[in-house]
Symmetry: C2
């Protein structure tokens, strides 16, 4: 091994998200794929120096629930009742092939990186294609191949075996973390649910699932089984510490305690829940109070319609204040926690990701110093500015594993013009095929 590659990000305002939530002026030093120094004035040579003077520097954001390939459906299924939304989405699903997933995922990964998200959790099929997109663009993917009843899927073959095959082929790749995916209780029998759990046990991987998203899910399941979904899964012995679910918009306080006791977390998706009019609001303050891991996710581009975690942090804070009639609920620091260290804990990577601390992986975002919407920025209002004022478009430079994947607001690993042109063509073609 040769000398370490050493990069210095000079003179930024470092929102560390360390245990004391310090905001420091100074330098951030990256050595190979790790953070080597935080704050102060770095001495010694560097292979590269990035001038961050006046700009905010933060840990790469973690999108804890999305479907990146759905970017191709942006703007195709808006303002619809859930039944109409699902009918149209399934019609498109039925004609989608691996090439559609690949190009949509590449567009989604570039959108994520350009807006400061370095890690994403994806729940979908053809996750091998999505892994390729993540590897091509430089994003860090936590990829859950979705399992559901064979009778109800558009997947070729057995979803469970597809998931296992994906895990076996992808579990040793850098920046790719296979997970077990589960669609949700509405399309999963007891046998399917338990098989997914066993797969997770066998490979020591968490299960990521949709849970308690809509009233319909709760009431249908209660009618069918006499139990609410969380109760039913709990009695099946499904939950294992480390598992995490998206949404949780319709959780009772008893269910919050069940999840917290089991060590199961929630990826809160406020924009998607609002846009689909789910009605419920995930009880984030109660989940946090009970010690459950909580992250934040954009969901897919057909229900958001962007993948911008800055916008999602703001939406989370606003939704809870509005719903509780209390402006002190979900303050800026807590919203930022959800998108960084909270998300890292949710995906079992708290020791590696989610903060700017020595020894952690160098997933780092540098914002533009010249964005009017971030003026004034001081150590005192830095966190509020990140949550309430910043936008994805303010991102200038992004590192994943110490490698620059975005420079000057442009992806380094993708030809943007070509990607956008191919994506637009693929979307047009997909919608044409779906009729």
């Amino acid at each position: 091994m040769g000398r370490l590659a050493r990069r210095i990000i000079r003179d930024g305002l470092l929102v560390t998200q360390d245990p004391s939530r310090r905001v420091l002026r100074g330098d951030l030093v990256l050595e190979d794929e790790r953070i080597a120094e935080v704050g102060g004035h770095a001495k010694g040579d560097a292979d590269e120096t990035i001038d961050a003077h006046g700009g905010l520097v933060l840990p790469g954001l973690i999108n804890a629930h999305t479907h990146v390939a759905m970017t191709l459906l942006r703007g195709a299924v808006d303002d619809l009742r859930l039944e109409d939304f699902l009918e149209r989405t399934f019609a498109i699903d039925a004609v989608r092939g691996p090439a559609d997933v690949r190009i949509g995922a590449e567009l989604g990964c570039v959108e994520l990186l350009l807006s400061g998200t370095t890690s994403f959790v994806d729940l979908y099929y053809f996750e091998d294609e999505i892994a390729q997109a993540a590897e091509a663009t430089g994003a860090r993917g936590f990829l859950a191949w979705v399992v559901l009843d064979e009778a109800l899927t558009t997947q070729k073959g057995s979803p469970l075996r597809n998931c296992e095959a994906f895990i076996r082929s992808h579990r040793r790749r850098p920046r790719i973390h296979p997970l077990v995916g589960l669609m949700g209780v509405y399309v999963c029998s007891k046998e399917t649910v338990l098989a997914a759990k066993e797969l997770g046990e066998q490979y020591q991987l968490p299960v990521h699932l949709h849970l308690a998203e809509t009233r319909k899910e709760i009431y249908d399941h209660e009618r069918k089984t006499g139990q609410r979904p969380v109760e039913w899964l709990d009695q099946l012995g499904f939950f294992r510490a480390g598992d995490f679910a998206a949404h949780g918009a319709w959780l009772t306080l008893g269910e919050v305690r069940t999840l917290a006791r089991a060590g199961v977390g929630i990826a809160h998706c406020p924009v998607s829940n609002l846009k689909l009019a789910s009605g419920g609001v995930a009880p984030v303050p109660e989940l946090l109070a009970e010690g459950a891991p909580v992250g934040l996710g954009t969901d897919g581009a057909s229900t958001n319609n962007g993948l911008d975690m800055f916008a999602e942090m703001k939406a989370a804070a606003l939704l809870h204040k509005g719903a509780r009639w209390d402006a002190t609920v979900l303050p800026a620091q807590q919203a930022l926690d959800l998108a960084t260290i909270g998300g890292a804990r949710l995906i079992g990577m708290e020791a590696q990701l989610g903060s700017l601390e020595v020894g952690k992986l160098a997933d780092v975002v540098v914002l533009r110093p010249d964005s009017p919407r971030l003026v004034p920025t001081t150590p005192e209002n830095a966190v509020a500015n990140l949550v309430y004022a910043a936008q994805g478009g303010d991102v200038r430079t992004v590192f994943v594993d110490g490698r620059a994947v975005v420079r000057d607001g442009a992806p380094t690993q993708a030809k943007l013009g070509d990607l956008l042109r191919r994506s637009a063509e693929a979307a047009h073609d997909l919608l044409r095929r779906a009729g």
Copy 2:
């Protein structure tokens, strides 16, 4: 008079907001300060040609309620109970001088223009300073000098006479439209309210006021007068057609009808209402059904904390869907209407602003063609993309009165680096003085 200056914006996707809400591929021709052709392929010479290929082109957005000078307070008063928020804000108010207002307003105007807003309604004092900032940066200002009881103001002299002096000195300036401002029933006696009304009648100008923003406002006024604010103002004979109020978060259906009958409109401010946990949601569908004019406003940067009308459109659509448990409420087209033609009607400028139609003033926004979050864009999803996916940072070129005030995402009438540095210093100094 010489030949008209002729500009052609080539080959964009024109979201016209005309009466048929057409989305057209083609060219937009500006002649001097007016729109001369919409759609098709423009022939003839041009003094300038702007390539908009693949990009969305839309009418300049109208921010129907803000306080641009408050950008200096960004991030200074977040996550606080209303009482704590007001106490801190008033402490800062007490030490603020005209120079603070001027620099804050200039920063605010640049933030507005860079995010595609060409017209703004401002309710504040020192509106002469704000007029200078608007003129310096090229924004179109509807400026309401705020009137309230003399005993309760930090203004020097009589607020009413200050307002009148501002109207007299500024009513003939291009792109500056003085209005009569009224703070709200909580700081305005019957005499003050009626004097503001008379001032509006005398100069044939609308009154712009805060109304029905918080529960406290409603209940305090009921306790004091036996009437809710709208009822009280109505019985005083205050309302005149053309007046418009910000917020309206706590309106009954009867009050909606009172306002609509009087021809009084509402500037809906969803982000501010959520962030301050006002609890109520302005009954926008009911206001529209009753025929009241409705626009959209960001409110000030201390309660938002940005001035981005793209984000505000999305927030409006999400808030209503979430609050009503109905995903079809406030669809994308309606949200865009609020920010364009609806806002134009609200401010009495429907014949001049709010759509891309021949003869209207050339306030035009061109978005970047290369933003991943806007791919795919087609005539079918253009409106959904503007509301649910676009961000202020996607704006590339902005015209006001046919003059380019933003080019390549940078202001043409302000030195950005110098402005940001002076703004940061002024904010620091202001907060230091406020203690």
